[in-house]
């Protein structure tokens, strides 16, 4: 049996752990740069606040209902996520961390599934303050369905689907569009072909499914029938490309400031590559003007560079990114966003040397190792390329950021006694 553990309204719940006076109060968390809503507490959901809504349009609603608004604090969410996953890992035979707030557990050999799940949920809640829901079923796809029931209808936050009668009953009340892996496109296609509930899919003709929805569709149908097609992935698959992009706190006009931003994103990409022990063979830079300002002309160019050999050193990747930027930058526009994507990623172990370069790749590797070591000890970006700049005027807008309670001593929870 497989369990899906999902943290309830994770980002909002994280904020509440350290501000218990917000219990039962509406909370929303905004995306990077305080742009739109990316998390809502249940109270905020019942006010009709929609996921993804732009924050500036909601201001009067926030004021009217005294909604507590937070900038996203990923240092805090990342740390609490790590704690939750650690507890799940210690408490179960095998785990796949699926996202920052979800994990699949393999419950092979667990005898009392319901009691086990209730205890695990209680432990996570007590130890971290984060409420979770647990759905248990024979396959990953069904565990997702069970989790939805647990979250919506179960007081104890746990729902176990084992018997066929239970599973079929639930699938009859689950819309196709609520299934794992069904996007808007497939949902519409299936609706057009008369599939309304998940149970309709269970009874579908398998060869029709395979023909119209590829082998992944077929796997999903088999999983709904209780035949496992997806095993737990213990090691996350290597990323195909890595993107670092941000909207600016204010519009950026001049080349120098744009350069600082692009250099910072490029070296962040390089750092992510090194952490994954990967190399990238291409670098793409894009810049965007503000789409909400119709009065201006829009300009959204990008430029891709293919590298001689795959790399992960910040200096070379930044240099290439800045050359790409130079090609696309035009005066007279005010830019709202920039980004760097490194692609064609290969494992570091397959490093090849360039036939035409006389640079020693191992020398730069040692430099990057030393830089990473210092930054890990002394704080992010303590040692950086000069071109990344010092004022960073373009930096994120995070006006409602909560303290990093769990990762910085100067930010730990303060209590007056």
């Amino acid at each position: 049996m497989i369990a899906l553990v999902d943290c309830n309204n994770f980002y909002a719940s994280c904020e509440r752990v350290f501000q218990p006076q917000l219990e039962n109060k509406p909370i929303v968390v905004l995306s990077n740069n305080d742009g739109c809503i990316i998390a809502r507490s249940n109270e905020a959901k019942s006010l009709g606040i929609k996921m993804g809504a732009p924050a500036f349009k909601m201001k009067s609603l926030f004021d009217l209902h005294k909604v507590h608004v937070f900038s996203s604090n990923f240092a805090l969410y990342g740390d609490l996520s790590k704690r939750v996953m650690q507890i799940l890992n210690e408490g179960s035979p095998a785990i796949e961390v699926y996202s920052i707030d979800e994990a699949f557990l393999d419950l092979k050999g667990v005898m009392k599934l319901n009691q086990f799940s209730v205890d695990l949920r209680t432990r996570v809640g007590k130890w971290t303050g984060i409420p979770v829901s647990i759905g248990v079923a024979p396959t990953k796809t069904l565990a997702k369905v069970a989790n939805r029931i647990a979250k919506k209808y179960r007081k104890d936050g746990v729902f176990l689907m084992k018997k066929n009668t239970t599973i079929n009953h639930v699938l009859k009340h689950t819309l196709v569009s609520d299934l794992w892996g069904i996007g808007r496109q497939y949902a519409r296609f299936l609706a057009d072909n008369g599939f309304e509930t998940a149970f309709d899919l269970v009874n579908a003709n398998e060869s029709w499914i395979k023909r119209n929805m590829s082998v992944n569709g077929l796997r999903m149908v088999k999983e709904l029938k209780g035949i496992p097609c997806y095993a737990l992935e213990h090691q996350p698959p290597r990323k195909k490309n890595i993107c670092t992009s941000r909207s600016f706190g204010m519009d950026v006009v001049n080349h120098a400031e744009l350069k600082e931003a692009v250099a910072s994103y490029a070296s962040t990409c390089a750092l992510k590559l090194r952490k994954e022990k990967s190399l990238a063979a291409s670098v793409l830079v894009f810049i965007k003007t503000n789409p909400f300002k119709n009065s201006q002309y829009q300009y959204n160019p990008y430029q891709k560079v293919i590298l001689d050999v795959p790399l992960n050193d910040s200096m070379e990747i930044t240099k290439q990114a800045l050359m790409a930027l130079k090609k696309i930058y035009k005066k007279g526009f005010s830019y709202k966003k920039a980004g760097v994507i490194v692609g064609d990623i290969v494992p570091d172990s397959s490093r090849q040397l360039s036939l035409f370069s006389n640079k020693d790749p191992f020398k730069t590797r040692n430099v990057m190792c030393a830089v990473d070591y210092i930054n890990e000890k002394m704080g992010r970006n303590k040692v950086r390329l000069a071109v990344q700049g010092f004022d960073r005027k373009w930096r994120l807008k995070q006006e409602k950021l909560s303290p990093c309670y769990t990762t910085r001593f100067k930010d730990v929870l303060q209590v007056k006694i």
Partner: protein
């Protein structure tokens, strides 16, 4: 995710000939404060206090407390509690079926926890880090 810090002393001194250090076989692992202070890493949080209601228990303004959420409160343990939405640190005491939050400073009064209060133990204070 399950990486744990463990510092192991490492010898780089070259001793091509002669006697090895007589202490070499007796080396212990380095002292690890984290290990000493933290019993449940995923349930332990640091909290800084201001105020002196607990000074007779050795908790002074500016100290950092190590708080473990995995432990159960017992009679007379010092807890970080949430009382009507506000954090406080007090000794928890049970007397004749009544529950009290007891300060450790005679200028402050005990608080009786009643039914209508919203009360919750956030975590158990296990250590105080005090800078001298």
């Amino acid at each position: 995710m399950d990486e744990k810090v463990l510092d192991i002393p490492f010898y780089q001194s070259d001793v091509p000939a002669g006697f090895p250090s007589p202490a070499e076989d007796f080396m212990d692992l380095d002292l690890n404060l984290q290990e000493y202070l933290v019993q449940h890493p995923s349930a332990t949080f640091c909290v800084r206090v201001t105020g002196d209601s607990m000074q007779n228990a050795g908790i002074f303004s500016g100290d950092v407390m190590v708080v473990d959420r995995a432990l159960e409160p017992k009679n007379n343990t010092i807890v970080l509690a949430v009382l009507n939405g506000e954090f406080t640190v007090k000794r928890i005491q049970k007397k004749a079926d009544k529950l009290y939050l007891k300060p450790e400073n005679k200028d402050f009064k005990s608080i009786e926890i009643t039914e209508e209060m919203n009360f919750q133990v956030w975590g158990i204070v296990t250590h105080i880090i005090h800078k001298v």
